[in-house]
């Protein structure tokens, strides 16, 4: 497995012919260092030069001056084709090759690198599993048969195919709906725990930046770096009026996005399975301050809620007639998203599930408020 490499911008400037500083897409004297294995989010309004900065790393755009290092190597000295094959690249519109199957799309860079067909197929299978797509179902399909979320997963798999030390992601989740986006974000964070790549991630969404970034670089129009650091620091101490305005007036609320569901001590819900004896379950629910019974299937996956008043006094728990088991959280879900989902659903508690969908515990609105209440 390739180790991650740091990425360093040294006084990188990009001016477009006939225009001075301050023009859309230009970058002015950008210097920052992204340590190996970290996610750095470039965030800012449109025209701030964040995408230009990203594309200078794999030389889709050449800087006017300054240099970019991957590890200790200046990218300007590398063969541009070899450089791009060694960097994963994910874009908003995904750009899957419509004439190739999902499996072939994922194996793009391995094929360019001349791997044997059997090795390419094995790698494609491995990567589809990694991004949560069943290879048996998906490898032979064409991209036109996929949903937006599935396409973006394939796009991520394609970028990872040759195990690159650096991954560039340009608004990767910008074109999918908010629910799918939240799930893809969580999946990327889960992948990153295993892979520890150096990821440069471009977004215009400050919430996404706070959630995804180990480091956040706020850029402003003209291509100036307004602030660079961990998201908590940017929320707590915006370096300028611009950053304060860009982060928004609801900085307190946004700080909720720094905390993950996994950081909370989850509440255990009284649970039962359909067919369980009702009276015992009823007693358990009655003994709990939270007067609902969580009904789960044999694999502990939530089926729904049962109001304690609707638990029969005797007999067995029925297999239907529940309130829907929603919202569901992943351990990467931020408290901000969790709170938003709870308010939207109009319920007190959401269920945290693991990668297989098994219930791990509950998060309530009270727990979220408690966590952020000033000491």
């Amino acid at each position: 497995m390739a180790t991650a490499e740091r990425v360093v911008f040294e006084h990188v400037t990009k001016r477009y012919p006939g225009t001075g500083a301050g023009n859309p897409g230009a970058v002015e004297d950008l210097s920052l260092e992204i340590p190996a294995g970290k996610i750095c989010v470039l965030v800012g309004p449109s025209g701030c030069g964040k995408t230009t900065s990203l594309k200078m790393v794999n030389r889709l755009i050449e800087p006017s001056s300054g240099r970019i290092l991957i590890g200790d190597t200046d990218v300007a000295g590398s063969d541009v084709i070899a450089l791009r094959r060694s960097i994963g690249y994910v874009i908003q519109q995904v750009g899957l090759f419509p004439h190739q199957t999902v499996g072939e799309n994922v194996a793009t860079v391995p094929r360019l690198l001349g791997w044997e067909p059997a090795r390419r197929r094995a790698r494609a299978t491995e990567l589809l599993e990694l991004v949560g797509l069943d290879p048996a179902r998906y490898a032979a399909r064409y991209p036109s048969a996929l949903s937006g979320g599935e396409r973006q997963r394939v796009g991520v798999a394609r970028a990872l195919a040759a195990d690159p030390p650096v991954l560039l992601m340009d608004e990767p989740f910008g074109a999918v709906d908010p629910i799918v986006r939240e799930r893809l974000q969580n999946e990327l964070l889960r992948l990153q725990e295993q892979l520890a790549k150096t990821i440069i991630f471009v977004t215009h969404d400050i919430d996404e930046a706070i959630k995804m970034g180990d480091l956040v670089a706020v850029m402003q129009v003209g291509g100036h770096l307004a602030q660079f650091g961990p998201p908590a620091g940017i929320l707590a101490n915006p370096a300028s009026d611009f950053v304060a305005r860009f982060v928004g007036a609801d900085r307190g609320l946004k700080r909720l996005a720094l905390i993950r569901v996994a950081d909370l001590e989850l509440r255990n819900a009284p649970t039962a399975r359909p067919g369980d004896e009702a009276s015992g379950a009823r007693a358990r629910a009655a003994a709990d301050p939270f007067p609902y019974l969580l009904i789960v299937d044999a694999a502990d996956r939530p089926l729904g809620w049962l109001d304690d008043r609707r638990i029969p006094a005797s007999g067995a728990i029925a297999a239907d007639g529940f309130e829907p088991a929603a919202p569901l959280f992943d351990r990467h879900t931020t408290l901000k998203d969790a709170l938003s989902m709870l308010l939207e659903a109009g319920v007190q508690a959401g269920i945290v599930v693991d990668g297989d969908g098994a219930a791990q515990g509950l998060v309530t609105i009270e727990m979220i408020i408690e966590r952020v209440r000033p000491e």
Partner: protein, 210 residues
């Protein structure tokens, strides 16, 4: 009305003429395609070239075939080339337009992804752009083939050794012999329909994703 016995007597002749018809069509379409492909790629790379190329090939297309076929006789004599040169010239506008439209239709994000994943220019063109332009390219081949099959009949005016199945039409007209006109006309139509049907199947085979 139709003299079936005459047709039965001339089956060998019919097969030979049909073969000539297909031969002229195949050569003209192939050569026209290769020339057009070059012109189309030039047009895509050098946008300024596209207007003049399209205009020139469009003007060629408007020249009446009765005028264009005899035009080259002084240069080429009465060889296959006399028929082939105009046939090729007529195919250019169809091909160039379809190939350029096909290459233009490749989505920008697909090209960006191709560049970003490290295709070189040659690889990007042959493994991404051309395959994605194939539906329109093959559509152009179908149009050009059918149009060329029609034009080959007119080459019969150059003399008896030309014309494919068009020979029967011209000879039938000279002798006011309906059976022969019918044989040539229907034969050409059948040829066009058959070639088009085969190309449709080729297209499906080549572009399983669409």
């Amino acid at each position: 009305m139709i003299d079936w016995a005459w047709i039965a007597d001339h089956l060998d002749d019919f097969v030979g003429r049909a073969g000539q018809h297909l031969y002229l069509t195949a050569i003209a379409v192939s050569v026209g395609f290769v020339i057009s492909f070059g012109l189309a790629v030039w047009s895509v790379r050098q946008r300024r070239a596209y207007g003049p190329i399209l205009a020139a090939s469009g003007v060629l297309y408007t020249i009446p075939s009765l005028a264009l076929f005899p035009f080259f006789v002084p240069v080429t004599g009465l060889t296959d080339l006399t028929a082939l040169v105009p046939l090729v010239l007529y195919s250019l506008v169809i091909f160039v337009r379809n190939i350029v439209t096909g290459l233009d239709g490749v989505p920008a994000e697909v090209l960006e992804a191709a560049d970003g994943t490290g295709f070189d220019r040659f690889g990007r063109f042959w493994r991404v752009e051309v395959p994605l332009a194939l539906p329109l390219i093959v559509a152009g081949i179908r149009l050009a083939a059918v149009s060329t099959i029609g034009l080959v009949t007119i080459t019969a005016l150059l003399g008896d050794r030309f014309g494919g199945l068009g020979f029967f039409i011209f000879e039938g007209l000279r002798h006011s012999f309906a059976t022969e006109i019918f044989l040539g006309g229907l034969g050409s139509i059948a040829l066009a329909v058959a070639v088009d049907a085969i190309l449709v199947r080729v297209q499906r085979r080549l572009t399983p994703w669409s």
